[in-house]
Subunit: 261 residues, 4 copies
């Protein structure tokens, strides 16, 4: 399990959200309160949109709390749309390539959750990827595989339907393989303009996911980063939050396992 944070709104310095709050993401890297693991020290990553088409990414295997580079970067980088993620590995190796967020051309994706029995499904999931996407696989995590699979399923044009198809497909694989461990999926995806935050689990126990509307924008987090004046809202189980410049919208995620047959 992991902890993450996504922001879309008026440009702000990253440290205002990543470091300053009382229960900031950096604080959560040592003391997460709503995660399966309190410590999220298996690397971290940033992804942000600046003045170029492609977002920047920064991945490091050190724990977030001890990286002075991260502190300096968060103090310098100002962005209208960014992702930050602290990792607690569920089994795959510690490497930069396994740190979130993952980038594909102009898109970013990050994930908190797990694919039950992933070790046995890894190959089958990878087999479904088109060559062009498989060539861009850099690491070995389930999270990156899900992202590439969703891209193959049309994530860029149908961000909700493509993710529904992907989850349905993987869930069907799990079923067929006789794996009883759940598929739990809480994630963020953006094409650089719109932000989608998904929350779903095959056992109805997805990791927590919250959002808050600020004056200048919208914040999505694994767990609240402070006890602010403005309220934190939960993204309901089995739904997806859509955020753009004009506001937010929540709709159901309709994962049909039969789709995968």
């Amino acid at each position: 399990m992991c902890r993450f944070l996504a922001y879309l709104g008026a440009p702000i310095f990253l440290d205002e959200l990543v470091y300053t709050p009382a229960h900031s993401l950096i604080h959560q890297s040592l003391h997460a309160t709503e995660a399966k693991t309190e410590t999220n020290g298996d690397g971290f990553g940033l992804g942000w949109y600046g003045d170029r088409d492609e977002p920047g990414v920064y991945h490091e295997v050190l724990p977030a709390w001890s990286d002075q580079n991260l502190r300096s970067l968060c103090g310098q980088i100002r962005s209208r749309l960014f992702f930050a993620h602290v990792r607690a590995s569920t089994g795959t190796a510690l490497s930069r390539a396994n740190c979130h967020p993952f980038r594909n051309v102009g898109d970013l994706f990050m994930h908190n959750g797990q694919v039950g029995g992933y070790r046995h499904l890894k190959r089958e999931i990878e087999t479904e990827l088109p060559d062009a996407l498989y060539e861009h696989r850099l690491g070995t995590t389930d999270s990156e595989a899900l992202f590439l699979m969703a891209l193959a399923n049309g994530l860029r044009t149908e961000p909700v339907a493509a993710m529904e198809r992907t989850l349905g497909r993987v869930q069907a694989m799990l079923k067929r393989a006789g794996i009883t461990e759940p598929l739990r999926f809480t994630s963020c995806y953006t094409d650089g303009e719109v932000l989608w935050a998904y929350r779903w689990a095959s056992d109805d126990k997805p990791p927590t996911l919250y959002y808050r509307q600020e004056e200048g924008g919208v914040l999505v987090v694994s767990e609240p980063i402070d006890e602010g004046l403005r309220d934190w809202h939960r993204v309901p189980k089995g739904s997806v939050l859509r955020v753009d410049r004009h506001g937010i919208n929540i709709e159901d995620l309709r994962v049909d396992i039969a789709v995968a047959a």
Copy 2:
């Protein structure tokens, strides 16, 4: 604060103590129970005596729990005398040179504790070091400085008296500087034959320190690594445990602050 482990006895593979026990040092790196900080993820280190005169040392900035090299090394290295240490920084930088144990020629030293207001005393402590020792300072920690100061005070020939002088001297510095934070000192030193484990604090609250006599040897730890049949004993406050091939001995540490005047 940190957690550590020292062993002297019949040669054993390091993983038998570092990995296998239920509350092994690796487990303590994530879930220490008697330390100020539960997480000890700011690097780690090994020091061990093998077939050469000088001990080997291995230092890494990654958390101990995620280093596959450490696991492999502990599975291969067999030693009659070794130190292992997981670090929780009290302020100094994350770097290999700041990881314990510290080596000086054939000796090893590791520490768990703190020098109150070290930032302001660092220079004064360093000033007292003879040139020959100062040239061997590789890092910036209080722990390494205390080791070098103790060597200057005769640690090799008088392991108890030299440490008493060192603690007295530093405590006098603290006093003169008007620093009220305590000096807390729990540490291990070895010359490759005999192991000394010290426990002292200016406020009578030194970090915990335990030992256990095994069939083949003696084990010294920050906190018990299992609930074994054999009993764990506390090293009393203000005393030093001496271990060699023939057995153990405990004597008082007589720290005289006036000595420093």
Copy 3:
């Protein structure tokens, strides 16, 4: 391209071969003379047989020349059979999982060379791996894929024939994919008792490979580590050197591309 060294014989400290010689592997990491690249600074690795059944492995992304841990380990570890490897990436990521030697249960493998157009063949090669081996793939390199493929082809029982089949198969893939870049393969494999050193290329230009019989054993290297009294011999192109306790033997590698049809 990379540089490597393998030794089988009476137990010696690793630093006698890895550090001490005038043109040691550490020297070659900065100043290789017979490699495509002078600098081999994209990580390194050790694999060695000690007192346990499984060999130890140590992988690091830092350049070999700047790793103090490596120096200390090579000064402590004594082995009758070990591999050492400095890496110059041909495109795949810098990560520990991509450092040689690769271990599979009790076996070690390391490689110097390249699979032409590997990026396009990666998937096809992986597809041929049995599930049980694919699950043990930790990195993303062509070298690890070749090792696993050779294991699938019977490397443990037929170390020569299995490698011939593997090279033939990959060469056939290259041909069918219309890739004209060569397959160049210079590698070492051991099961913990016998050492095989292969040298082959589809364009008859395999990387260099030398061996030398010492009093206590046999040394295999990418390029000579010194100008010793004893002579260095080239492993002939298209052949495999077999080394065990009793001596050496050289035989042809018969790579049949048709085998792959």
Copy 4:
């Protein structure tokens, strides 16, 4: 020895100078042509001025050529004033704290050169630092010590005279200690507005230093990064180049060893 680059002018993306040119700093990290060492693989660093008062810094121990974070950061960060540095250690440890540029409040400094016999002078140099500056020493290099000493000598208000005093003082120390190895000093300093580039050596053999006036600004480099249309000029030995928004100026460095008596 090392290689570096400094820029002051209209804001540009860092990769335009750090990656794009034929003989960019990244290329120089593997293939420097005018340095004592061809390979500059002992870490690197960036320092840049953005939208905040303090500059950002990024330090990493990996070689510059293999760091994907560096590539992404240089593609995102746009700056009117920045330093980039690839390191070849002259003896001190590999650590982030030893990577250039060094920051002190709003200032940056980076260095290419050496203090002869630094190991024996380290302590004497450090002893001259005021407490307030000594507390900010993070690493162990001669370069950082020179920077702090220059700050103590008034670098902020008299950037030329303070450096003259510093060099004179250190040269006097070398002389008194009977050290015959030279003091070689090529460096850049900035307060965030003005850039000074110094070139001096006690043996009249300072490392190379070039500058070029561009349309939008001025570039200072250890060695030319391309064969552009605009000419590269050498900073003369024993002089300092001053660059601000309005243009450049060169004046002599008057290092008086007697000043140190």
